[in-house]
Symmetry: C2
Subunit: 230 residues, 2 copies
C-alpha cells in the first residue's frame, strides 16, 4: 500500500555513490575535506538526502576507515609471509603498524577520531565492525606461537587486545602530538613489544598474574567531575 522501498540493490547503489564521493574528497583533501554538503554537491543531491542512507557523517567516515584498515593489513601481511617465528612476526607487525599511522596521519585521524555510536543499525554487511576482523591475523599468530611452544598458554584474545591497544597508543601519541620531541617510533615500539613478547615465552606463566579475563569490561559511564571543575 505505501510507496515501496527501494530495492536493496538500488539502495546500495546510492550508498556507494555517496561513499565514492566521500572517498574521493578524502583522498583529495584529508578528513576535513569530507563534508556532507560537499559530498552532496558531488553527487548532485541535497545534503539531507544523504541522511536517508547514512545515519550521520560518522557512518560515512567509518566506511572510509574500513578501507584504510584493509590497506594497512594488505601492506603488512606480505611482510610476514615467510617469517617463521610468530614472535618475530608480531614484532614486525607492531613496528609496521605504528609506522603506517605515523606515515599516514590523516588516515589515523579518520580512523581514531570517529566515535563509536551505534554501528549495528544502518550499516550494510560489509562495513560493520568486521573491518576489525582482520585482527584475526594476530589471533592466528598467537595461537601458532602457543601451539609450537614459543609462547606459554594464555588468553589469546586478551593478548591481542592488549598488544594492539598499546601499540596503537604509541601511534596515537606520535600522530596527535606531533610537536613533542618523541623518540623514534621503533624505539618506543620495541620498549613495549619486546618485553611483552618475552613475557609470553617459555611455558612459565610470566609472573604474578592474577586470574585472567572472565567477564567483559563494565559499561563505561561518566563518574563525578574532578574537583577543580566544581
Amino acid at each position: 500500500m505505501p510507496r515501496p522501498a527501494y530495492s536493496i540493490e538500488k539502495r546500495e547503489e546510492i550508498r556507494s555513490e555517496i561513499l565514492a564521493a566521500a572517498h574521493q574528497l578524502f583522498a583529495e583533501g584529508g578528513p576535513e575535506a569530507v563534508s556532507i554538503r560537499r559530498v552532496a554537491e558531488r553527487i548532485d543531491s541535497s545534503p539531507m538526502r544523504i541522511y536517508h542512507y547514512f545515519r550521520n557523517k560518522d557512518a560515512i567516515l567509518r566506511n572510509i576507515w574500513a578501507h584504510i584498515f584493509d590497506d594497512v593489513f594488505d601492506r603488512i601481511e606480505p611482510l610476514l609471509g615467510d617469517v617463521p617465528s610468530p614472535s618475530k612476526r608480531l614484532r614486525i607487525f607492531c613496528r609496521e603498524w605504528v609506522q603506517y599511522w605515523v606515515a599516514h596521519p590523516q588516515e589515523y585521524r579518520i580512523v581514531y577520531l570517529t566515535e563509536d555510536d551505534a554501528p549495528t543499525e544502518q550499516m550494510s554487511a560489509e562495513e560493520t565492525y568486521d573491518s576489525l576482523r582482520r585482527f584475526a591475523l594476530l589471533v592466528e599468530i598467537f595461537d601458532e606461537g602457543v601451539s609450537i611452544g614459543e609462547f606459554g598458554a594464555g588468553d589469546t584474545q586478551l593478548r591481542v587486545e592488549a598488544l594492539t591497544t598499546a601499540v596503537t597508543g604509541i601511534a596515537h601519541s606520535l600522530v596527535m602530538i606531533p610537536k613533542y620531541p618523541w623518540p623514534a617510533p621503533e624505539h618506543l615500539v620495541e620498549q613495549v613489544v619486546d618485553p611483552f613478547l618475552r613475557g609470553l615465552s617459555g611455558a612459565a606463566p610470566p609472573g604474578p598474574l592474577t586470574e585472567l579475563r572472565t567477564d567483559a569490561c563494565a559499561p563505561i559511564r561518566s563518574a563525578a567531575a574532578p574537583a577543580h571543575l566544581r
Copy 2:
C-alpha cells in the same frame, strides 16, 4: 603613540574570566557544552572578543585539560606515597591511570581530542605543555628503580614515554570504542605493564635491543594516500 596594551594583570584577569566560564560549562555538560558562544554569553561578551585572548577554542580546552591532568596526578600520587618498590609504584600508576580515564570518559575526550596546533604562542606561562611536567613523577620512579638496582640501566625518558603512550592507548580504546566487549582494564594493563617492568628488572639489558634513542622522531608528514582512495 598607539593605544597601549592592557597590563598583563588585566589581560590575565580577562583570560581567567573566560576560562572560569569554560570550566563551568564543561563541569555542567562535558566537552560538547563548551562553546565559544556560550562562554561569551556567560561573561557578557561578544564571541569574537574571546579570540583576542585565546587563539582558538582548542587553546581554551587545553587549559581545561591542564587542570584535569592535575586532578589525575593529585589522585594517584597519594596512592604511591608509601609503596617502597618502584616497579610496584609504576604498576599502581598505570592501573590507576587507565582506571581514571575509563571512569571519566568526558575528561579523556577533552584531553585527547584536542589537537596540537601551536602551543607556544598565545599561552600564559602556566598553561603550556608544562602540565606534562607531572610525568616527571614517572621519571623519578624509574630513576630510583635504576639507582636501587631494581631496574637495569636505560634511557629513562624513553621508558616513560613508551609506558605512558602504551597505557594511554589502552585507555583510549576503552573510552573511544565503548561498545566493544573489552576485557577488564586491569587485565589489559597487566598484560602490557608487567612484562614491560619485568623487562627492566635485573642488570641484564632485556634482550636484543637495538641502540637506543639518539635523535628525535622525524617530522611527521603525510605520505601517499592508500591505494583504495585513488
